[in-house]
Assembly symmetry: D2
């Protein structure tokens, strides 16, 4: 069975990654692509790497006939997304890749994004897209909000530990290293090759990164009481990949066991043997997550390291995984591509 | 229909790339993996990026039961390959990725590789693996010799021009830029990150690179008279990708037309509009070749630029394309993966 | 003796490189820094790597008292430069790093830059800044026009060969590989890390790159008759460095000898032993040029490979070398910094 | 005044960095270079980036006449160093860059390096080379033990906080990101460009990295009671640079003040304004350290981020700084080179 798919915002990296993955998806067919300022262009002009595909020409969103669309991926910038989605048919299945529908509380949205939400009634409808933890809700959802890529990485490392009650909840530290494609295709001096290559720096340190809104919401929900983590992201000279180093207090073996047991049935989550450490290179271009656990020399402390590809499992791959559930397809359809190494 | 595949020499980059591609091939199943020094190990220990796959344990070649194998890929080092293949069953279908069977003339082999061939009778049997130019022979071949990755790139740019008679044969210059994975996983100081990143250099300049043996053989065959090109390879700080800049004397429009017409029916060869230039980024991880042509300001001179991924279309993807033909599968089976960008 | 220096356009890469080099120059002192849009800021805000230096605050050009300035480096964008310089005091010594005064003929400027020159009378006064070939004129010049970085690299490889009459003048091909800092700090999608890293492409192929204006002017002057070269630049995923691979017809040993003899007295030009090939890594951050020569297997053809750092010898280092001559300082003052490797 | 310098182990990265820095040092002259396996070669053969220098030929150590040497830098591998130094004249001034003399206690050495020290009587004599904290002892020392590059980075961030008593001593976490040159020029698969570029991973996690021996020794000394930190290093795809993200409990403003006051008189230590974060790019190739402090949203927690260049301030630059003190030269002599950016 073939599902007709629209990708809104196809001229950014997550849009292109959606098209890349759908290109070999057995049940999805791209029926419409939008890009506001580039409407009228061929996708191969915007992304020459896709020139072997026969794709519809880029359109403005208002030109798309959504009656023929089974599901729309919305890969638009934050803030734009909520306005666009509010104007789409109310029965259209949507997977949104922006930050706009991740936070369930209007107050939380206002706090982290600095202004009131433009479509609070739709926000209430959205299901948080961390597939392995919201699978049933996603299956029946109309609107799924893709997680932040950093937020996904940290949650995969920590969430089962909270659920299993094996760590102290007040001393969690997430030190995160992220590749540059997570910042998108935007024109900023700090994203130029000459500025970024051959070096590293931290940013949004001290508790100001917006993905903390997701950590707060989800860890608090999982724990049944407020949980606030420390979180410091760093930008690395690589295009894809996120590595989260998580410092927790708890028995290292119990930490490892909680992760291994929780993820044993999950296709995309690989927990390494105790003591082994993952590399972002080993998941590049794929929907897999690798997680390692080591014990510290100080008893009662453990380090959990999780890696994923921010464009795949961190956004577009996750989005397709959710769309598979929403459309009744095999959850892993189109997502079993092996990582690309080297 | 499922074909049982053996990969000999699975611990190098081309071996790993074969496994990556076969992982989503609809008709191939990996039945045996060999790695001499790493026999007994799991593939996921050697290449953690493949740990989501259920693969046979690494064996020594002599432990493999070739009666159960439909086709063997031989991704062994040069010189080793000819010895191993000489000892394999004579009716086993083989795609060799080494340099050992590329040169049809024993004298040519001796000249470029510095010693006599160890299996000249098998050499005579081998078909040169540049699929689009040897398709019929490959279909019925028992042994196909994969081309050099540089040799493939240069030939895709030039061969149709010789066949169409649109360029001068005595002034062809190939200036080639190659990523580092082409040098394999060998321990050389010059391949260390600290030596290679953030810089470039040429090597084997002046007509000493072994892939010239292939250029001489194939261009002379295509032209029906001796053709010798100039060829300077350069090593670039990137993992995958080859870009060949080819300087030819001939009418630029005729050059473009010859390429566009020759490759119009080919799935993996994309000739860009006249004046457009390709990038290695746009074929990374894929089996596609992009080719561009521009005219020089000096009348009667053209520049042809061809790009491919050395590990895919330059070796392992090409090998699978050839294996598809040999086994009666769809030629493109398992090879339609879109490039990975960024 | 201390010379008071102004750097106009200090917020770009060549401006910052000037400040880096002047920081340890024994006779230069930075008296003024300009940056139009960033006037009022500290240099350490624009370039934190310079924060250990005590530097004047960024100003608008019109705020600078040029009576106190011995020499001004003008590191402004093309086209802006000619307007600014036309308005500066007519007795102020200037080294211009833009393209505005490189071409002596007004017609040539119009041809390559697409519009008439705004200050043709000053253009007539400018001396071309390829130090080793214009040393005497530079010593007495008021205005020196820094060369293009690509143009410098190609000329160092070829100019002595024309002067010595050892190569054919009608078949010169320059295939050039350049790092990204040469494109400056401008906000272009194509200069983002995610677009540029891990790949390569050619640009301005076919005789359209503006540095051809310099090649034409200088090679024609050196030869005493028109010389037109073929020139294809490529962008590489590295920040600093240019490598020019030059294909010439001529006796390889004579080619090597012409270069070795011409550059024997030059401090910054190192001709490698015959057959050895240079690497951009070996000149990074320095004012040195390394040149290698190999003979091709086809008799009568040679390959010359030259490398330099585009920001140092290709622009800011060259500029200081010229300023040293103009101010009567030691030519090498402040420029003997060793390359930075790795 | 000119001091005659020997560099033992000149064929590694720290040896080459010593030569690079000494090349423009006003009072040091390289009188001897050793490299055991490469004895007889010119330095320019081993490191072509140094070919503009007139340097002594590489020798075996036993061929050096140490009577003519004022100070020897010992840039040999760990374990080798202690044997070589034990055999050198007992009155020769030495700065050792290996790990061999960093740990004062024989038991600590045995614990972290897995075997007894071969020259315990010399070990007792060695002064720990963290210049800003051992300046007086270094001035009169015969043997100075250069610090680990990671150990230096962490100590610059933390030591003044312990001395000022502004942080909790039992919850310090150091998450460190290091470039690859710190691993040296050794032939390991994991250091190949194809393995290392475009990704990141942690290593020696959980309290097994040997630089913990230094942290334990020095922090315990500074605190006057046992201090054990958590320490997780990560390898990044960049050649130079270390960034340490340090998580501490304490008042953020007090933390910033303690660092700013402690380092106010120090030439090479730059404490950024409160809230600003440093980048490794801004110290590349230089002897400078940049340190930033931010407060976390959780009251009473601060994040300190310190960056330095592992080859310069982390080893060879530090070594020269110490040698300057030992020889009565200006402490900053030869070390005021500005960082190289981009």
């Amino acid at each position: 069975m073939t599902h007709k798919i629209a990708v809104l915002g196809a001229s950014g990296y997550t849009g292109a990654e959606l098209v890349r993955l759908i290109a070999t998806h057995p049940e999805f067919e791209i029926a419409a692509l939008s890009a506001d300022r580039k409407a009228g262009m061929e996708m191969s002009e915007v992304f020459p790497f896709l020139r072997h595909l026969r794709l519809p020409r880029l359109q403005k969103i208002e030109e798309i006939d959504f009656d023929t669309i089974d599901l729309a991926f919305c890969a638009l910038p934050h803030a734009t997304s909520q306005e666009v989605i509010a104007a789409l048919p109310r029965d259209l299945r949507i997977v949104d890749l922006s930050a706009d529908f991740r936070l369930r509380e209007a107050a939380a949205y206002q706090k982290w994004y600095g202004k009131p939400h433009a479509a609070p009634e739709i926000q209430a409808e959205a299901v948080y897209g961390l597939t392995e933890f919201y699978r049933d809700e996603i299956r029946s959802a109309r609107l799924v909000a893709g997680t932040g890529c950093n937020a996904a990485t940290g949650q995969y490392a920590i969430r089962p530990l909270i659920e299993a009650g094996v760590i102290d909840l007040d001393t969690i530290v997430i030190d995160l290293k992220a590749g540059v494609s997570g910042a998108g295709r935007s024109l900023k001096e700090s994203l130029l090759h000459a500025e970024l290559s051959e070096g590293t720096h931290s940013y949004s340190a001290g508790g100001t990164h917006r993905h903390l809104g997701e950590f707060d919401q989800e860890f608090t929900k999982a724990a049944g009481r407020p949980v606030m983590v420390q979180f410091t992201p760093h930008l690395l000279p690589m295009n894809r990949g996120i590595l989260a180093t998580v410092y927790v207090k708890g028995d290292p073996r119990a930490v490892h066991r909680a992760l291994a047991e929780r993820y044993a049935p999950e296709t995309f989550l690989e927990v390494l043997p105790f003591g082994a450490l993952p590399s972002t290179r080993d998941v590049r271009g794929s929907n897999f997550v690798h997680i390692g656990v080591v014990g510290d020399r100080i008893p009662g402390r453990a380090v959990v390291v999780a890696v994923l590809d921010n464009l795949t499992k961190g956004s577009s791959g996750q989005a397709i995984q959710n769309a598979n559930l929403m459309l009744g397809a095999e959850e892993t359809a189109g997502l079993m591509l092996a990582p690309v190494f080297p």
